[in-house]
């Protein structure tokens, strides 16, 4: 609840230009709030739990930047940091807190601390930071699964596209292939040469694709960092992704080249040269 009140219920009312009689407590405010409302370090503000209600005069002692936390990226509200006692008294929260963070010297100490807390606990519970992180990152697991599903559809579309292009490319060279066959070049050599060509096309295409992906990632990061005002990276082209993309493209290219070349070398060379196989196919 304190976190929520920090973010929303403690409302900025006005910039107070009068110096109070007692030294005001300090407050740290969101750098976005400072930028939007032109607040400077040392300014005096009045914070209150309700709009227009009585509040405390505080001095701005620091600006805080939001962490690069994906779970907070879509939350646009401002956050301020107050001293615990000050907030408790401001919102009439009594001697209560929402949570404690506890540091332990080792993993074994964590286990024993959790046992020690949870055994007598009533109405509260100790959790490992790791477990909380897993729970709060569920949203991103969903997004990740969604991206993976979209990725699979894209790969299927690319595979069909590549196969189609290779088929057209090899088909276009049926006369050359027929001439090679008539000169005595073996079907295996022709298939190999087509596959090498397909592999080259796939690798060059992957290179161009990596460049486009890298450029797109930069544009995406630039755009969304501006939209959400966060230092988070929204897209990144990692070496693993490059290796996966190039390998996949190469394998798909080789398969497409093999399938397309096999179709050609199965047709007798003379029929290939005269185009009679097409007429037969059309007639069938």
């Amino acid at each position: 609840m304190i976190a929520a009140l920090l973010s929303a219920a403690v409302l900025l009312q006005q910039i107070d230009t009068l110096r109070p009689s007692t030294l005001p407590r300090s407050i740290a405010i969101d750098e976005r709030l400072a930028a939007d409302r032109r607040i400077k370090l040392g300014d005096l503000l009045v914070v209150s739990p309700t709009p227009g209600g009585p509040g405390d005069t505080v001095t701005v002692s620091a600006f805080v930047r939001r962490r690069a936390d994906p779970s907070e990226v879509a939350r646009a509200e401002y956050r301020v940091r107050l001293h615990l006692h000050q907030l408790q008294s401001l919102i009439g929260y009594g001697d209560r807190v929402d949570r404690f963070a506890i540091a332990t010297p080792s993993a074994a100490a964590t286990d024993s601390a959790m046992r020690g807390i949870n055994a007598p606990a009533f109405g509260f519970r100790a959790y490992r930071s790791r477990d909380i992180a897993v729970e709060t990152s569920r949203t991103f697991l969903v997004v990740s699964r969604f991206h993976r599903a979209i990725g699979v559809i894209t790969i299927v579309a690319s595979a069909i596209f590549l196969l189609c292009i290779m088929l057209l490319k090899v088909d276009e060279r049926r006369r050359d292939v027929a001439a090679l066959r008539l000169m005595g070049i073996s079907a295996r050599s022709i298939v190999r040469s087509v596959m090498v060509e397909a592999a080259l096309v796939a690798v060059i295409g992957s290179g161009v694709g990596v460049f486009i992906g890298w450029s797109a990632a930069r544009i995406i990061n630039w755009h969304y960092r501006g939209v959400y005002r966060t230092p988070l990276a929204f897209a990144s082209v990692t070496p693993n992704i490059i290796v996966l993309a190039v390998s996949l493209s190469l394998v798909l290219g080789l398969i497409a080249g093999f399938v397309a070349a096999q179709r050609l070398v199965r047709v007798p060379a003379l029929e290939l040269l005269t185009g009679r196989h097409e007429d037969r196919a059309a007639a069938a």
């Binding site: 709009p51 646009a76 509200e77 509260f124 579309a157 596209f161 088929l167 939209v227």
Partner: protein, 396 residues
């Protein structure tokens, strides 16, 4: 005649045509999914907001309903002020909280609790029994009743909090389950109960006295919503009013990622389909240059040849699009099942919501792309000089 010639050309290269149709089908499926994604969330969210006819929500100043734990104090004053506005037909105050119930099996079952006025509420629909109107009555969701091993008519011992120092529940009281309800805004599997506002306020103690989390307002005339909103914000400065339109704009902002993703992937899908058909038609025209110039030589008009080739591209796009639309509905269900598991998302929200207009939009774009894909290569092929091309074809 045009159709027969186009069919003959396409069937001459069956595997090539089949692959092109498959490629277009996958692109069409992706395009349909992205068109559905771009509009589905908005429509689904709007339907959810207007499910019970409330056009305005009032939350503590600077917040959205249930976005924080902040509450509106001295709510009876606000209720009276709202009641004096003649345009408001229904005022539904809601207080949120948690209740904890000792189940028969000894476990403590927790659930979100919504305190409100049963006669004016817009958060749930009763599916068995009746709405809770008496001081010690609740209606509960199926998930809660299952977890608490309870049914309509049972009396539960419920509490609104814990007192860790005394090791006891705080705000305990017996509550009779008088109804089984379907909660409109809860996520799948979320346990929820509804009880009268005053009951929840008293269970939560002095901290919740005369407080509510938000209000829902039903306005008599849809056209007066903005006027009422302005009047409320002027007369009651400690609340923020959110109309359905404002809420939609905020959702748009928060989910802009999905709309932009839909736009980018939709454009890429359309471009892939367009490229595939353009490549195919270009190669097909190059292969049939001799055939085309012979047709021109015997007097077939250039426009007629262009029409035939464009028809081939359009046919591939059309057939691919039809297959793709069916495929797209299947993939949309799968993708929707992934995104529906977002934590905290109301179960009634669909990311991929099918509307006939989406299918028509996707089909129209693909057929349009098919026509465009065929125009340039066919025009180029049909405009070749007849004699020179015939000689080139004959000599090789």
């Amino acid at each position: 005649m045009l159709f027969r010639l186009a069919w003959a050309t396409l069937s001459r290269h069956r595997s090539r045509t089949l692959l092109a149709v498959l490629g277009v089908a996958v692109s069409a499926a992706m395009l349909l999914d992205m068109v559905m994604l771009s509009s589905g969330m908005r429509v689904s969210f709007k339907n959810l907001l207007l499910a019970r006819g409330f056009q305005i929500r009032l939350a503590p100043k600077g917040t959205l309903p249930f976005d924080t734990d902040a509450t509106i104090v001295r709510s009876s004053e606000i209720t009276a002020a709202l009641a004096s506005i003649p345009d408001i037909a229904t005022i539904s105050p809601v207080l949120g909280g948690q209740i904890h119930v000792a189940a028969r099996n000894g476990a403590v079952v927790s659930a979100i609790a919504l305190g409100g006025d049963a006669a004016a509420q817009g958060d749930y629909e009763i599916i068995e029994g009746r709405a809770p109107t008496g001081a010690n009555e609740i209606a509960a969701s199926d998930d809660f009743l299952r977890a608490a091993v309870a049914r309509v008519g049972d009396t539960l011992s419920a509490a609104a909090g814990y007192d860790p120092q005394l090791r006891s529940f705080a705000g305990s009281r017996p509550l009779i389950v008088v109804g089984r309800a379907k909660f409109i805004y809860t996520s799948a599997g979320q346990r929820a109960v509804a009880l009268p506002l005053t009951t929840l306020q008293s269970m939560q103690g002095s901290a919740a006295a005369d407080r509510v989390s938000f209000y829902m307002l039903r306005i008599r005339d849809d056209g007066r919503v903005d006027d009422v909103l302005h009047r409320i914000e002027r007369e009651i400065p400690r609340v923020s009013g959110v109309s359905t339109q404002t809420a939609m704009a905020q959702v748009d902002e928060r989910l802009s990622y999905f709309r932009q993703l839909a736009l980018i992937l939709g454009a890429v899908s359309l471009a892939v389909g367009f490229l595939l058909v353009t490549t195919l038609v270009t190669v097909s025209v190059n292969e049939r240059l001799g055939e085309i110039v012979v047709l021109r030589a015997i007097g077939v008009a250039r426009g007629r040849i262009v029409q035939q080739i464009v028809l081939e591209g359009t046919a591939i796009m059309f057939v691919g699009a039809i297959v793709g639309l069916v495929l797209g509905l299947g993939t949309a269900r799968y993708l929707n099942s992934i995104l529906s598991s977002f934590p905290g998302l109301p179960a009634a929200i669909d990311f991929f919501l099918f509307q006939p207009s989406d299918a028509w939009t996707a089909l129209g774009m693909l057929v349009g792309a098919g026509i465009l894909a065929g125009i340039y290569p066919s025009w180029r092929g049909a405009s070749r000089p007849i004699a020179i091309t015939l000689r080139e074809e004959a000599v090789g």
